[in-house]
């Protein structure tokens, strides 16, 4: 069973709002993507088997027989990249002011299904873009296309505003690249 689009988008927004790695968020992402039958652990879970003073930690996932540790998606580039859907490529760019944006595109270079213009770290930004890419392909295709178009318009507007502010040619080039991905994806979705 696939995670629903709203859940994925909410998680993407939380990644974009986060200021650093977050183990609870890791657990929620893992439950949305990999372990749909499980849920993030709560302090009282499996209480009678707990060692006193050692409740489940924020990154633990409840299972019927104990706990799993969630991968460190929000802290590790390696783990964050495992969220990128099969057959997709990533593009990551970091501004002089430290702000990060990431795009997740079909690796044939003619589509982009997720973009995140405001992650605090590269790992968070890739998480957000990958979750948006997964959200774009979840659920009804027609409705998804319209939502994607709106999301893209918002993201491109934000990115264009930043590019004008900095005036760096390299950055504008990357933005153009991402824009092309985004608009091609919108056209493709619309045609579909």
């Amino acid at each position: 069973m696939r995670a629903d689009r709203d859940t994925l988008l909410r998680l993407a927004e939380r990644c974009e709002a986060a200021t650093g790695s977050d183990r609870r968020l890791d657990a929620e992402i893992a439950c949305a993507i990999r372990h749909r039958d499980l849920r993030p652990a709560e302090p009282g879970n499996h209480a009678k088997f707990q060692t006193p003073g050692y409740p489940p930690r924020a990154g633990d996932i409840w299972t019927p027989s104990g706990f799993l540790m969630a991968p460190i998606y929000t802290a590790s580039l390696d783990e964050a990249l495992t969220l990128v859907p099969e057959g997709h490529a990533i593009s990551l760019h970091i501004d002089a002011d430290g702000s990060v944006f990431a795009g997740v595109a079909l690796d044939n270079g003619v589509g982009c299904e997720g973009a995140s213009p405001c992650g605090a770290t590269p790992a968070l930004s890739i998480c957000a873009a990958a979750l948006r890419a997964r959200a774009a392909t979840a659920g009804d295709a027609g409705e998804g296309a319209e939502r994607l178009r709106l999301t893209i318009a918002r993201h491109v507007g934000v990115m264009r505003g930043r590019a004008n502010g900095s005036g760096q040619e390299q950055r504008r080039h990357v933005l153009r690249q991402v824009e092309e991905f985004l608009f091609a994806a919108a056209a493709e979705k619309g045609a579909g």
Partner: protein
């Protein structure tokens, strides 16, 4: 602190090897580690900067040398230059990584390209760029 300043030519040669690699390579990991100051001692390795208040210790080579060519997180520890751009398809379909020197103005820039393709190309591109960053530092006055 590293035991010795890495040799510029060695670092550039290692960067080229990373770009030519087709996937993770432990031998290359070992060569990178050596250039960073890890020292081979009778089949094990004494890491020169592994003191941190503790006495220096002999640690096993293959268990402890980071998997630079397999992990972006490990590859990022090679150099302190900041990641500016990374793309699976940034260099005409090849993986591209660009690092900037945070201490210079205008920002120094080095590039690494992953020619190997596949999921490890980005890691190899980052290794190459990071080694070129070290080489740039080694050649600085």
């Amino acid at each position: 602190m590293r035991a010795k300043a890495p040799d510029r030519a060695t670092l550039l040669a290692l960067a080229d090897r990373c770009e030519q690699a087709t996937g993770p390579d432990r031998e290359l990991d070992g060569a990178i580690a050596t250039s960073l100051g890890w020292t081979d001692v009778h089949g094990s390795v004494l890491r020169a900067d592994f003191q941190g208040g503790r006495p220096p210790g002999v640690i096993d080579w293959w268990d402890h040398v980071p998997r630079f060519t397999a992990s972006l997180d490990a590859a990022r520890t090679i150099s302190e230059w900041v990641l500016l751009h990374a793309s699976d398809i940034g260099a005409d379909g090849l993986a591209l990584v660009e690092l900037g020197n945070p201490t210079t103005t205008p920002t120094g820039l080095v590039r690494g390209v992953g020619y190997g393709g596949g999921q490890h190309a980005l890691v190899l591109a980052l290794c190459a760029a990071a080694l070129r960053a070290l080489a740039a530092e080694a050649s600085a006055p």
